[in-house]
């Protein structure tokens, strides 16, 4: 990584490290109840306490010249601070800014709130029932999105099947749990806001703040330092409105808000889901129809969920040839914290269902799980259920690479006593964002230094390093001479987001575009010096020359110097196309499909139910690998991260109250949870475009493990995480089909 030395020296400055002169600290008063009315809120005493500079409540909003209370990525349903009603435990009710933490806490204690509790609902299926309390008055059935896909005649397909299997899979709430908590510092100077925040989408944050405060885009400056992890939890607007709104009341003093670990658990979660999946198949192993119905828990506010839930629709099917497909994905409000992307977003949950289900079918047919998948796998040139023609797809190669790494063909290792061994595999598909844009600027100066201005966020994935390499290679400047500036919305151009594993492909594409423009400008500058037409000049190896007379070879620095140019600066842009019809799910889901697979061997202790993953081999399709070391870290990191939601992670609630909002009761994978043998393959293809690899080997982890557990002890686990308790109970209940 470019700043590797700073990383081992502990010198990377994250948002939590930012200190400004006169800076105040913010603290948030949060709802203690899951659902109810705010009868009275009395904050006047708090502001009079020593050291307290500002107190923010809903009364500060929707007044002439004041900020707007409601915001939201698609549905403006979320108040910056609760007004009249609270909808989950931990919802912000008031924010204070004070000279130190003690003063801020004293101020929170001085705010009196009287609540009147009302019935609440937590489970997406129950929340859709007619008797459930409505969480938002304008959504009486708690439904905020219904994504659909219709392909072929599913009734006929099920009729033509020799057999039909229907199963229900669940995946619980989990927490992204980046080690650096959400942190932001806001400062107002007159009517202009500067905010430093650990966010994955600086321009999304800017847009939201601009709308909340009714100012022009250029009046909001969003600066993003390196993140101590993101994983989707920092993918949208989170704490920025809270800190920006309270900072507006401090007379220009900057305010910092940094969440505690418990607050992290009340701020954002992975989408919980119930997935009903039904497949018709023939005895030869072909699939005649598939119907998938997904009930996504969105939490109390829609946030980015409408888009994510629509994106889950084509991701729910699996990379298989099925002539009739129907998908319905419901997004449902519940009295829990808002749900958001969690590394492998939506695909982790859908892959859990369809890849476990594929093994259930394979077992019924008595066909080897790899062979069964191969018979149905989609290849390039074939049509997917969205109607799009698959291109550059290598699902089969990914799966076979993972299986070969594990030694799928080799005889099974023998069980020993109470320890039973089994093997499993899984493959995944994930769309990235259609109709999104990435822009960049490249500046080449007379010293030969190339500066890349980019809003891509560095969050440990090594994006800045990979992008610098792409720029270095495309322009022909040594990597040591590439500088990166950004993200800072006052300086770096638009980028949709650093998520959905899109940066290498999208920002990489923008850099390739800019590099071509830069080379055009270099040819134009060199033409009068060499005395030929610009189009006759060739650029290679950092030199410009006329191939007809190889004598005059100009370096970039020479070209600039002799043209009397201090620098050449160009812009680049890359856009993705596509989109699906909301009623039919037909169209183009993604500019290209993300692809990954995994195969593992587990050991199940039949007396305790404990599952140990002994060996794990993953593979992803990278198209073209930019940095092998970083790419491998993504493959391995996904597998290790994936051990969490597969085996350990579940946010537990009791009547809406979080039970385990800390890193003691909520377990993250440690080095002891990493498989003893961890293999990784990165597949490339000739002249392929860059493919994202930030998530692809994660979604297969849980189903590969569950399939291995089935292979080991003959029980099918359908609810995550695969805890010892669940496995032991299933073993006691006897083999399942």
């Amino acid at each position: 990584m470019l700043d590797a030395e700073a990383r081992v020296r502990g010198e990377v400055a994250y948002a939590v490290d930012l200190e400004l002169p006169d800076m105040l600290v913010a603290a948030v008063l949060r709802s203690p109840i899951p659902h109810g009315r705010i009868v009275e809120l009395e904050a006047s005493e708090a502001i009079s306490l020593p050291g307290v500079v500002a107190v923010l409540t809903a009364a500060d909003f929707d007044r002439p010249g004041g900020p707007s209370l409601l915001y939201g990525a698609i549905i403006p349903d979320q108040p910056v601070v609760a007004k009249d009603r609270v909808r989950y435990v931990g919802e912000p009710v008031a924010v204070v800014a004070a000279v130190d933490h003690a003063a801020a806490q004293a101020a929170l204690a001085a705010i009196q709130v009287e609540y009147e509790e009302e019935p609440a609902t937590y489970d997406p299926l129950q929340a859709m029932n007619s008797g459930a309390p409505a969480i938002h008055a304008d959504h009486p059935d708690n439904l905020f999105v219904h994504g659909k896909l219709r392909h072929g005649d599913v009734d006929r397909g099920f009729g033509e099947a020799d057999e039909v299997i229907e199963e229900t899979y669940t995946s619980p709430l989990a927490q992204q749990a980046s080690l650096e908590p959400h942190t932001a510092v806001a400062r107002w100077q007159a009517d202009r806001l500067t905010i430093w925040t650990g966010a994955q989408a600086p321009y999304t944050v800017r847009g939201a703040l601009q709308r909340i405060f009714g100012v022009q885009p250029e009046d909001v400056r969003v600066i993003v330092p390196p993140l101590g992890g993101g994983f989707g939890g920092k993918g949208h607007v989170r704490i920025e409105p809270l800190v920006a709104a309270v900072a507006r009341k401090t007379g220009g003093r900057p305010v910092k808000l940094s969440l505690s670990r418990a607050e992290e658990f009340a701020t954002v979660t992975k989408h919980p889901v119930v997935i009903k999946i039904k497949t018709g198949f023939r005895r030869d192993g072909s699939l005649t129809a598939r119907q998938v119905t997904l009930y996504w828990g969105g939490g109390a506010y829609a946030d980015a969920s409408p888009g994510l839930i629509r994106a889950s629709v084509p991701r729910a099917v699996g990379p298989y040839r099925i002539s009739a497909v129907q998908v319905d994905a419901f997004g449902v409000y519940t009295n829990l914290p808002p749900s958001a992307a969690y590394r492998g977003a939506m695909s982790s949950q859908t892959t859990w269902a369809y890849e476990s289900h594929m093994d259930s079918i394979a077992a019924r047919l008595g066909i080897d799980p790899l062979e069964f998948r191969e018979r149905n796998m989609l290849h390039s040139g074939e049509s997917f259920c969205t109607g799009e023609t698959m291109h550059d797809v290598h699902f089969s190669e990914c799966l076979r690479a993972a299986a070969a790494g594990l030694g799928w063909d080799r005889p099974k290792t023998r069980d020993s006593g109470r320890l039973c061994r089994g093997r499993g595999l899984a493959v995944m598909m994930k769309s990235t964002i259609p109709r999104s844009v990435s822009e960049c600027r490249l500046a080449l100066d007379a010293d030969g230094v190339l500066t890349l201005y980019t809003s891509t966020v560095e969050m440990g994935q090594g994006a800045h390093t990979a992008l610098a390499q792409i720029a270095s290679e495309a322009v022909g400047v040594e990597l040591e001479k590439v500088r990166i500036v950004g993200p800072d919305t006052a300086v770096t151009p638009y980028d949709a987001t650093t998520s959905a594993s899109r940066s290498t492909s999208m920002m990489g594409g923008a850099i390739l575009d800019a590099a071509e423009r830069l080379k055009d400008r270099l040819r134009e500058a060199a033409a009068p010096i060499v005395e030929v037409e610009p189009t006759a000049l060739v650029i290679a190896g950092g030199e410009i020359y006329d191939p007809a007379s190889a004598e005059d070879r100009l370096s970039y620095a020479e070209t600039l110097e002799r043209s009397d140019l201090k620098s050449i600066e160009v812009a680049g842009k890359h856009s993705s196309q596509g989109g699906l019809d909301p009623e039919t799910g037909q169209g183009v889901a993604t500019p290209h499909w993300h692809q990954g697979a995994g195969a593992c061997e587990v050991e199940v202790d039949i007396e305790t139910g404990k599952v140990r993953v002994l060996r794990y081999h993953s593979a992803s399709f990278a198209g073209r690998v930019v940095n092998p070391s970083l790419a491998r870290l993504q493959n391995d990191g996904n597998v290790i991260f994936g051990m969490g939601p597969a085996l350990l992670e579940e946010m537990a609630f009791d009547q809406g109250q979080p039970v385990n909002p800390n890193l003691s009761d909520y377990m993250l994978p440690s080095i002891l949870d990493a498989p003893e043998e961890l293999g990784s393959e990165l597949l490339e293809s000739e002249a392929a475009e860059f493919h994202g690899i930030g998530e692809m080997t994660l979604p297969p982890v849980a189903p590969a493990i569950a399939n291995a557990v089935f292979d080991a002890v003959g029980v099918r686990i359908r609810d995550l995480p695969i805890t010892s308790e669940r496995v032991l109970r299933a073993i006691k209940e006897g083999p399942s089909g």
Partner: protein, 159 residues
Amino acid sequence: MIEFRLNGNPQALDVDPTRPLLEVLRDDLGLRSVREGCGIGMCGACTVLIDDRAISSCLTLAGQVQGRQILTVEGLAGEGRLHPVQQAFLDHAAFQCAFCTPGFILATLALLKEEPAPDEATIKTHLAGNLCRCGSYRNILEGVRAAAEGQVLVEGGAQ
């Protein structure tokens, strides 16, 4: 007045002895490599060495370090040169976001002082109290092995 040695240098601080050491190191002394991840001693991001033992500074009170030697990553590198454990982590790309990295490096140093030639199980047990959410454990293990094999132990560490 609390007196201790920090990265080899004497320190005398007039602070409330019941304040967490993490807060004193970060906020009062500006040591930004000492980071809070969980606040309850579970993640290891705030690890410091106190008399060569890896300790969670979030659970240590300032008064407990009276007369002790504290080492943070700021005290590791010499003149323009990385400490061998840092170098091993760098060589093996044993980090991603690196929020956890100072803690891992110090936990590794404590391990190698206690057990210069640890086997894999010992390394894993010793580092189980440090979490890397990005999932770089394979590279971390390789880095620690390389550090152990290179006999990187530097006398005192802080000098």
